[in-house]
């Protein structure tokens, strides 16, 4: 009952965020997790070979503490068809400091096209870039976005 109430209260929020198309496999329990998640964001890969929708599974990125990211990979921005490929990599780096993270996140597949990168850790404040690399048939293609982490 509580879960249903929460679900109903969250539906308008999804619409406001422009993400009125929850993933087909999304379960009520996972939606509950939205109360502690960041908004969905999108990115297109460099050669426009796939479309990425992602969100933090925490309200804000913590400094020097682990956090998780949920990533969806679609064939295009219509988000009708999950992309199929061999492997997904999620990473982050600070090009101006010429380093990346000190940890390697664990990538877990939830369902076709849906992944969670567990154990991301940004160890210092500043501008970070996130990378989603999709490997298929020996070729990776990258989608990326930036965020600012305050100290």
């Amino acid at each position: 009952m509580i879960i249903r109430c929460l679900l109903l209260s969250l539906c308008p929020m999804f619409t406001l965020l422009g993400c009125d198309r929850p993933s087909p496999s999304e379960t009520p329990e996972e939606v509950v997790a939205d109360t502690a998640s960041g908004p969905w964001e999108t990115a297109v890969s460099a050669d426009e070979g796939f479309f990425v929708r992602w969100r933090l599974l925490v309200p804000d990125i913590p400094l020097a503490d682990p956090f998780d990211i949920e990533v969806e990979v679609w064939t295009d921005e219509s988000m009708n068809e999950p992309a199929t490929f061999d492997q997904l990599f999620v990473d982050a780096g600070m090009p101006h400091h010429r380093h990346g993270m000190n940890v390697v996140p664990e990538i877990e597949s939830l369902s076709p096209g849906r992944w969670i990168a567990r154990g991301m850790l940004l160890h210092m404040p500043g501008r970070w870039q996130f990378y989603v690399d999709v490997l298929d048939d020996g070729r990776i293609e990258r989608a990326q976005w930036s965020t600012w982490l305050s100290g």
Partner: protein, 683 residues
């Protein structure tokens, strides 16, 4: 009672303390007396240097101070003797196609001839104007594949060990040239190599291999089984960066490191002991400062060592420190400082952009060259194995209009593509976020795709050493593959789409508009072969398919501009201009477009152009460090405004010239100027 008890207890305690203090003093006295014992011997004190040794890649001490044998990149061997006579050392030379050499236990000189697949042996002790050859051992290849890319060798149990760098393995031959065993494969795990560079054997016949691009030393048993390994990339004492040479003498292992500019010394289990050498602080500085060492050789008594520095065209001799190991450790020089840019040989430019390789950091530096000099606008990639890292740069191509950079990585077996997010009409500024990796391909998958394109060949993982594309719409990216000895074309997804000409030692492409020329190395000469835009032969089966021209020496780089071909001469410290070379290419291209092939074959013009052996008509530049001067100029390319950029590698900078050789500017990562620096007054 209590007092009695206290004094009874205290006295022994005080006595114990006193005796402990007394004992503590005894070792001190012993220590002082121990200092009078002979110091632990340690090599590394600068003795002397010999300059003018052109491109010696391996220097070896002959027993008894009889001299030094130097293997050179032109595949000859120079014998300098005697070691002690500085004023008039005599020199003898053995010409051939040698790629590896070593000193045998009896003092004989052995060398591997790459073309004849023979090990030839000379006795340097025999006098005469020429060295006397005493025997030859032909590699028995009736049952196996030939030895390829042999870069070092060592005597082993009456036979030989040979390092095949490109094949990432070691082969052991017996005294008759029959293979006994082999070990190694490409990779980073135990027993695998990334371009092994040198080999040595200890008194127990354990085999030590310099695993250059894994930045470590690996030890194997006398049967070739993996034993242990140590080292990882870094500059701190005990770490290794691009080790190039090794010698095991007694209980010490001496390792030369190209990119740390030093020699590191370990015990037989890989425990770090000390180091010597340091990057020069002023150009050409020697006297113990080492620059890109290529080899280390220590005599049988560990009394002397010789280090080859091909880049500096010299060899340096080192002797024992009189104060032994303590003095050696105290004399250690700090790591290199304040040298921000080194500039490797790779350069690619077009219009207002330029990209260059930085081998020390495994990064690529991009410059805006719209103005009079180069301004660094971003640096990207790091040394490493991640998708956006770089193991070792094999080739570089900048697609100017699209602002795309293509990078071949020889260690990670990868070809990657980066986009420079840069607006051309805004003020120039440094932007560390400018370069974005768009895609990268695993070349083992490329190998499989090539095999499906041409199933008749046996394909290995490509080793791409040149990348470029003709400047016409729709022209594919061309890759010169040294491992499969072929040129192939790639589409925008970096998938191979066609297989072009075969090539033995590709070096680079030179492109100007629709004109594509493949530069190949052949011993001391370079061959220039015109290609179609897809990398296929121009006029296959006709005279047109031949060599366009042959140039003496190996250029550091080449570029076509107008009718002329510009070559950088690493040996001569100058730029050579072959006038009319491009025009000859243009005529060749026109002929190849004729529809009637018989006309082409019979045409006198075609025969006239079949092989052009031009000599440079113009040159500019001299050896030096001032503006307009060079030391070992490497990569060369053309940029907008009909200008030529030259990587002046020995001076850690780049220079821009007009086609007539007028100096325009000098720049590095941190500076750029258009007014030549004044010359210092000669004392």
């Amino acid at each position: 009672m209590l007092k009695t008890l206290t004094s009874t207890l205290l006295i022994p305690v005080v006595c114990l303390c006193f005796s402990a203090a007394a004992r503590a003093m005894v070792p001190q006295e012993r220590s002082e007396s121990a200092d009078q014992s002979p110091p632990v011997p340690a090599l590394g004190e600068f003795d002397r240097e010999k300059n003018g040794i052109m491109f010696g890649t391996r220097a070896m001490l002959l027993p008894g101070g009889a001299g030094t044998a130097v293997l050179r990149t032109d595949r000859s061997i120079l014998l300098i003797e005697p070691l002690s006579d500085e004023d008039a050392p005599s020199e003898r030379e053995i010409s051939g196609t040698f790629t590896a050499a070593c000193i045998l236990p009896g003092g004989m000189l052995a060398a591997f001839d790459d073309v004849s697949q023979e090990i030839r042996i000379w006795n340097p002790a025999l006098e005469g104007p020429a060295l006397r050859e005493v025997s030859r051992i032909r590699f028995d290849r009736t049952l196996d594949e030939p030895l390829v890319d042999v870069v070092d060798m060592a005597p082993f149990q009456g036979g030989y060990l040979l390092v095949e760098r490109g094949a990432h393995r070691v082969r052991a031959l017996d005294a008759e040239g029959v293979e006994r065993f082999r070990f190694g494969r490409k990779g980073g795990d135990d027993g695998a190599f990334q371009f092994p560079g040198a080999i040595s054997v200890d008194d127990q016949d354990r085999i030590y291999v310099v695993d250059t691009d894994n930045h470590r030393i690996q030890r194997f048993t006398a049967d070739g089984d993996f034993d242990t390994a140590w080292g990882r990339r870094g500059a701190f004492p005990g770490l290794l960066t691009s080790p190039t040479g090794i010698d095991v003498v007694g209980d010490r292992i001496y390792v030369s490191e190209a990119l740390n500019h030093r020699v590191s010394v370990f015990d037989l289990d890989g425990r770090y002991l000390y180091q010597w050498g340091m990057h020069a602080m002023i150009p050409r500085q020697g006297e113990g400062r080492i620059h890109y060492p290529a080899s280390i050789d220590v005599d049988e008594n560990a009394m002397r060592a010789v280090v080859a520095e091909p880049f500096e065209r010299r060899i340096q001799y080192f002797k024992r420190f009189s104060g032994g190991l303590d003095e050696a450790r105290a004399a250690q020089m700090p790591s290199k400082q304040d040298i921000r840019s080194h500039f490797g040989p790779f350069i690619s430019g077009e219009d207002d952009l330029l990209v260059m390789g930085e081998p020390e950091t495994g990064s690529l530096a991009v410059f805006d060259v719209a103005g009079e000099t180069g301004v660094n606008i971003t640096v990207f990639t790091n040394h490493g194995s991640g998708w956006d890292d770089l193991g070792r740069l094999g080739a570089l191509h900048l697609d100017g209009p699209e602002q795309m950079v293509y990078v071949s990585d020889l260690v990670n077996d990868r070809l990657s593509c980066w986009r420079l997010q840069r607006e051309r009409d805004v003020t120039i500024r440094y932007d560390p976020f400018m370069a974005r990796l768009t895609s990268a391909v695993d070349l083992s998958v490329t190998r499989d795709k090539l095999a499906s394109l041409d199933p008749d060949r046996t394909w290995v993982i490509p080793r791409i050493v040149a990348l470029d594309r003709a400047q016409v719409d729709g022209a594919p990216l061309l890759a010169a593959d040294a491992a499969n000895q072929v040129v192939f074309a790639l589409n925008e997804r970096l998938d191979p789409i066609s297989v072009g000409v075969s090539t033995r030692e590709p070096f680079e492409f030179v492109v100007d508009g629709p004109r594509v020329v493949l530069v190949e190395r052949s011993g001391e000469a370079s061959m220039f072969r015109p290609l179609a835009v897809d990398g296929s032969d121009l006029g296959e089966g006709t005279e047109l398919g031949g060599i366009l021209m042959v140039s003496n020496g190996i250029p550091g780089g080449a570029a076509l501009l107008g009718d002329d071909c510009f070559l950088s001469s690493m040996e001569g410290d100058r730029i050579e201009v072959i006038e009319g070379a491009a025009a000859a290419f243009q005529r060749r291209l026109a002929l190849s477009n004729q529809t009637d092939e018989s006309d082409v074959q019979n045409g006198s013009e075609a025969n006239e152009l079949a092989s052009l052996h031009p000599s440079p008509e113009r040159t500019w530049g001299v050896t030096g460090e001032y503006d307009g001067e060079f030391h070992a100029p490497a990569g060369l390319c053309r940029i907008g405004g009909d200008r030529i950029v030259v990587v002046d590698r020995g001076n850690h900078r780049a220079q821009i010239f007009s086609p007539d050789g007028t100096w325009l500017s000098t720049f590095s990562l941190s500076s750029g100027y258009t007014t030549p620096k004044p010359r210092k007054e000669e004392p």
